[in-house]
Symmetry: C2
Subunit: 218 residues, 2 copies
Amino acid sequence: MSKGNLLDAIIAQTKLTKKQTDKQQKIVETAIKLFAEKGYANTSTSEIAKAAMVAEGTIFRHYGTKDNLLLSVILPFIKDSIPTMAEEVFGEIMSKNIGCFEDFLRALLTNRIHFINENREIFQIVVKELLYSDELRKDLLPFFTKNILHQISKVINLYKKRGELIDIPSSTIQRMIFPLIGGYFVSRFVLQPDNLDLDEEAEIGNLIRFIMDGLRKE
Amino acid sequence: MSKGNLLDAIIAQTKLTKKQTDKQQKIVETAIKLFAEKGYANTSTSEIAKAAMVAEGTIFRHYGTKDNLLLSVILPFIKDSIPTMAEEVFGEIMSKNIGCFEDFLRALLTNRIHFINENREIFQIVVKELLYSDELRKDLLPFFTKNILHQISKVINLYKKRGELIDIPSSTIQRMIFPLIGGYFVSRFVLQPDNLDLDEEAEIGNLIRFIMDGLRKE
DNA sequence: ATAATAAATGAGTGATTACTCATTTGTAAG
DNA sequence: CTTACAAATGAGTAATCACTCATTTATTAT
C-alpha cells in the first residue's frame, strides 16, 4: 500500500477517465460488494474472480495488484466526496449567506446522508480500512482534516461572529461535532446498515436539535 | 469464528482462571500489540511467535486456533467492561441517588475513559474487529445493546421523571448519545491514539456541556 | 535420583495467497 | 479473408497461511 503520495494518485486517477470494459466494471462491482461485506484483508482475488465470473488474470491485467484494485474503488469516492461537499454545501452557504446555523446543518446533513446512501458500500469500505490499515489512515486522515476541517472552521467562525454559537474555541466545537456526526454515520451505515425504515426528516431534525440545544429541559 | 454462542464462551472463560505460563503471557501480550497495530486479519501466527520469541507450536498448544487466541484477548475485556460499568457506575447512581444528570455523566465518562486508557490496545482491537468481522459484530452488538442500552434507558427515564431531560423518547436520546460518546472514544483512542497531552477534566467538561446544552448561544 | 506429567519445540502438512505469462479469443481496419 | 492489436484466459509459481505432531526440555512428586 501507499507507494509515495496518495494525493498524487488521486490527481492521476482524476485525469485518466478511460472507458471501462464490461469485465472491468463487473470486477469493480464485485470487489466493492465483497470488500464492504468481509473487509479487504478477508477477501481474496480468486474469490472476486469467481464471483465476477472472470479469470483471475483479468483482474491483474487491469489493476496490477490487489492494493491497486482497492484504490480504484475508494479513490473516486474520496475524490468526489470532498470537492462535492466543498462546492455544493460550503460554497453555497458561504457565498449566498443562507439563513441560520441550523439551516446550514440541515443542508450539510441532508446532502451527506444522500451521498453516503448512494455509495453505502464504498463508505463501509473506507470506514473499515481507515480503522484497519495504518497506511491508509496515515494518508487519508490528513487529507480529510485539511480539506474538511478547514472548511468547517470557517463556517463555525462565521456563525460565531453572528452570535449564533457559544463562545468557545472553534477547535473545541469541532472536536464535539465531528465525532458526533461521524459516529452517527458509522452507526447508521456501517453498524446497522439494515435499518431502512426510519423517517429521514425526523431523524435529521433530532440530530440538529441535539447539536443545538442538547438534552437539558427548557 | 463463533462456534455456537459467544455468551457461553464468555461464561466458560470466566470460570476457568487457571494460571498462565510465562510463555502464554508473552504470547497474549504480543498478540494484543500486533492485533491492535495491524488488525487481526493482517497478523500471522508465525509473526506473533517470532515477536514473542516462542515456537509457533506453543501458540496452538495453548490456544488451539488463531480465532481462539483473539477471543482469549477480547473476552476478558468485554466481560470486565460490562459488569464493571453496571456495578460501579449505574449501581452507584441508581442506589444512592446521586445528584443531577451531569454528575452521572461525569462519573460515567471519567470511569470509562479511565478503563479504556488502561486497556487502550484491546479497545482498539475490539473496535476494529467489531467493524471488520460480520461474525463478531453479530455476536457482540446484541450483547452490548442488551446490557448497556438497557441500563442507560433506566437512567434516562429516571432523570426524565425528575424533569432534568427534554421530553422525547428514550430511544431517541440514546440514538444521539451513543454515537456521540462512541464516536468520541473511537476518535480519541483509535484514530488519534498519540494525542496524549490534553486536559482530561476540561475535555470531559466540554463533552458534558455539549451533551447538555448543545452549541446554541444563551 | 527416578519416574511421571506438563510445556515447549520446530520441521513438516496441505491449502490458499497474490501474482505471472504463454496462449487463446474477440474486434476492428484494410 | 487477412492482418493487427487489445482483452481475456487459466494453468502455474513461489511464498505464506493456519495448524499438526513426534520429539525434546522443564517441572513436580515420590
